[in-house]
């Protein structure tokens, strides 16, 4: 009797074990700037991650080379410290033994984590990073879907300005790296386009009042203001430029206008503001774009960040399609990402080295509260409008 019971129990345990193995979830790890300097920016990435996880799980799970498995996230706060995120990815790989990795937020963190994924030969699709320094990473285990590399931005922005008949501009730049990198390429690009730079100013990230700079711009009477700004100073610019009465045909803000709170805060006044970005839900030749936009709005009652949320979601689509093809084997997965062409909300994506070579560098303009691609013509969703 006892024997049968034990056998039955063993059989039960065994079958439970098998059942568990069958539905064993895919564990996906990442670090995120929950606190610290970047914590304001990171939610737009996290929301895209969570939306995707819920969508995939609702469909029955992630397709791992034919088997559907639910997704669970394993994540830690990196306190906005790049070194900390490297430690976290080390732990995710060696200690938590996650099946897949998603990217942390921001260029410094990507650069910091690149070494870790390379060391462990663990492929990871990056997202919210843009710097020419990314091209110096040894290609192989990390990829960047962005097309907003500073040198490419600068060249295209000069072209766009020239096409709009802009003759003179003011260039004001935050001293933070992304702004400075763009400035470094923008000044020569403007020069060769024959556009005069009448005001060229740098300012610190903690600037609280732009009156002195804006008075200079106002009296210089320029056709365009190219502000290589971050979100906080983009806000400050919008408030104070209007107060002081800066009038320019073209107003460009580097980072900030794609954040949902921006359009909300400035309403009609934001119309005509130009910014970097290569995704818009209004591009009908990208069928996934609108679906993502609508699902996001339904879940969060707020629009996605047109840069970070879109990039984050693209990286997930790429990973999802690569895993469907190659499964979880790191070498096969790496091969699939490096050589595949992926359908994303931003159209087709294909990598050469670390860089996405399918998506053109583009600019967004706020028109009637909507974010439209206005440059280049090949993917534009609306014509450029003067301010």
């Amino acid at each position: 009797m006892m024997k049968t019971l034990v056998a039955a129990a063993a059989a039960l345990a065994l079958s439970a074990g098998f059942a568990a193995a069958e539905s064993k979830p895919v564990r996906i790890g990442f670090s995120i700037a929950k606190t610290g300097l970047f914590s304001k920016a990171a939610p737009s990435q996290m929301t895209a991650y969570e939306l995707w996880r819920d969508q995939v799980n609702a469909k029955g799970g992630l397709d791992v080379a034919g088997t559907k498995r639910k997704i669970v996230f394993v994540w830690y706060d990196d306190e906005s410290k790049p070194a900390k995120s490297a430690q976290i990815y080390e732990k995710l790989i060696t200690n938590d033994r996650v099946d897949l990795l998603l990217a942390p937020w921001g260029t410094p963190h990507h650069l910091s984590v690149a070494g870790v994924v390379e060391k462990h030969k663990f492929p990871m699709v990056g997202n919210t990073a843009a710097s020419v320094a990314l091209r110096k990473i040894k290609p192989g285990y990390i990829w960047f879907p962005t097309s907003s590399f500073p040198d490419r931005n600068a060249a295209e922005l000069a072209k766009l300005a020239k096409a709009q008949g802009i003759k003179s501009v003011a260039v004001i730049a935050n001293v933070l790296p992304f702004s400075q990198e763009n400035r470094q390429f923008l000044l020569p690009a403007l020069k060769s386009a024959g556009i005069a730079v009448k005001v060229d100013e740098k300012y610190p990230p903690n600037i609280k009042d732009m009156t002195p700079i804006l008075t200079k711009i106002k009296s210089a009477k320029v056709d365009g203001v190219l502000a290589l700004s971050y979100p906080d100073d983009s806000f400050l610019y919008m408030k104070q430029a209007r107060e002081i009465g800066v009038k320019a045909k073209m107003e460009f803000l580097l980072v900030g206008p794609t954040i949902p709170v921006f359009a909300k805060a400035f309403g009609k006044r934001a119309d005509g503001i130009l910014t970097i970005g290569h995704w818009s839900p209004y591009q009908t030749s990208w069928p996934r774009a609108k679906a993502f936009f609508e699902a996001y709005v339904a879940k969060y009652k707020s629009e996605p960040d047109y840069l970070d949320s879109a990039l984050a979601y693209m990286s997930l689509e790429i990973l999802e399609q690569a895993v469907a093809k190659a499964g979880l084997d790191k070498a096969k997965l790496r091969q699939a990402i490096a050589t595949g062409t992926f359908e994303t909300i931003n159209g087709k994506v294909r990598f050469k080295g670390v860089e996405n070579v399918a998506t053109p560098t583009a600019f967004l303009q706020i028109q009637g509260g909507k974010m439209h691609i206005v440059w280049p013509k090949s993917i534009a969703t609306a014509a450029y409008q003067s301010r």
């Binding site: 914590s39 304001k40 737009s44 610190p204 009042d209 009156t211 008075t215 009296s219 209007r242 709170v261």
Partner: protein, 296 residues
């Protein structure tokens, strides 16, 4: 030269100075009367800003109506902090230095907790309130309504506080406490009550500053820290515990920030600002108006 004399710059200097003066004032009250270094001061302003944001967003309540509520709310937190944490500290600390050090650590802890709770409750996504942003042109200077209100309210509060400290019994008691604690208690000042009142007033002023800032700044759980730093610079430069000195230093820094940048470059902002701060302290280690009056 034309730019330097423009009223636009003067207005900006006054607005930014008034923000510094207002944030410094509350901090100074708490330090002056109790020797507590409130490193969570800016976080109270953050809570005030969120209160204004939510009331505006959910109930279309004007931030100007939210401001008194923020004062009451923050003052309530002040009472809570006083009874819950600091009364015992003040009574038991063997020396003033020990009390200052303890309070710094306690407030740092509170600051971290408040920031992270706010981040959990409201998410870290930045928010904004668009209110009173019509532009007025007065004598060639254009100003948005919210910055005008900021300047007006801050000026009113600074003047009001000065009058309160000179004319009202409570104000005199607060001053007495700032000048000499034990003597104040000997002449019959109810030290405990005055301390509680100062704490509530100091916290309340931070809440008020936050509600006003909600109209001009982006609101996020971590917005408070720069204001804490600014407030500390202001009160140290004005003379710790010297309320008038703090207000003076606030406006001085506002002017230095705006005109310093005009004369040099925006990039030199921090160098000029902290240069003046260090310079003042080199010449007058006790601060602009600090020193004798309080030490005696």
């Amino acid at each position: 030269m034309e730019t330097i004399l423009s009223g636009q710059l003067l207005f900006s200097a006054l607005v930014i100075g008034s923000v510094y003066a207002l944030t410094g004032l509350g901090l100074n009250l708490v330090y002056g009367t109790m020797r507590l270094l409130n490193i969570a001061h800016g976080d109270l302003a953050m809570l005030g800003a969120y209160l204004a944001f939510w009331l505006f967003n959910l109930g279309q309540v004007s931030p100007l109506l939210a401001a008194p509520l923020a004062v009451i709310g923050a003052a309530g937190l002040g009472a809570l902090a006083y009874f819950g944490l600091f009364r015992r500290q003040i009574e038991r600390a063997p020396t003033v230095e020990k009390l200052e050090a303890n309070s710094l650590l306690l407030f740092l802890g509170l600051s971290v907790i408040v920031q992270n709770l706010a981040s959990l409750a409201f998410t870290a996504s930045p928010r904004a309130v668009t209110y009173l942003d019509a532009i007025y042109r007065i004598g060639g200077v254009s100003m948005t309504g919210n910055r005008l209100v900021m300047l007006g309210v801050s000026a009113l509060i600074c003047v009001g506080t000065a009058i309160f400290l000179r004319r009202s019994v409570y104000g005199l008691a607060i001053k007495a406490l700032i000048q000499n604690r034990s003597a104040a208690s000997v002449v019959g000042v109810n030290v405990g009550r005055v301390q509680l009142a100062s704490m509530m007033l100091g916290f309340g002023l931070a809440g008020l500053a936050g509600a006003l800032l909600s109209m001009t700044e982006q609101i996020s759980p971590f917005m408070g820290f720069p204001f804490t730093i600014a407030a500390f610079v202001v009160i140290i430069m004005g003379g710790l515990g010297n309320l008038l000195g703090g207000v003076l230093a606030g406006f001085l820094l506002g002017f230095v920030e705006i005109y310093g940048v005009v004369l040099t470059s925006s990039n030199a902002r921090s160098i000029i600002l902290y240069g003046v701060f260090v310079g003042v302290l080199l010449l007058r280690p006790q601060g602009l108006l600090g020193g004798r009056r309080i030490a005696r």
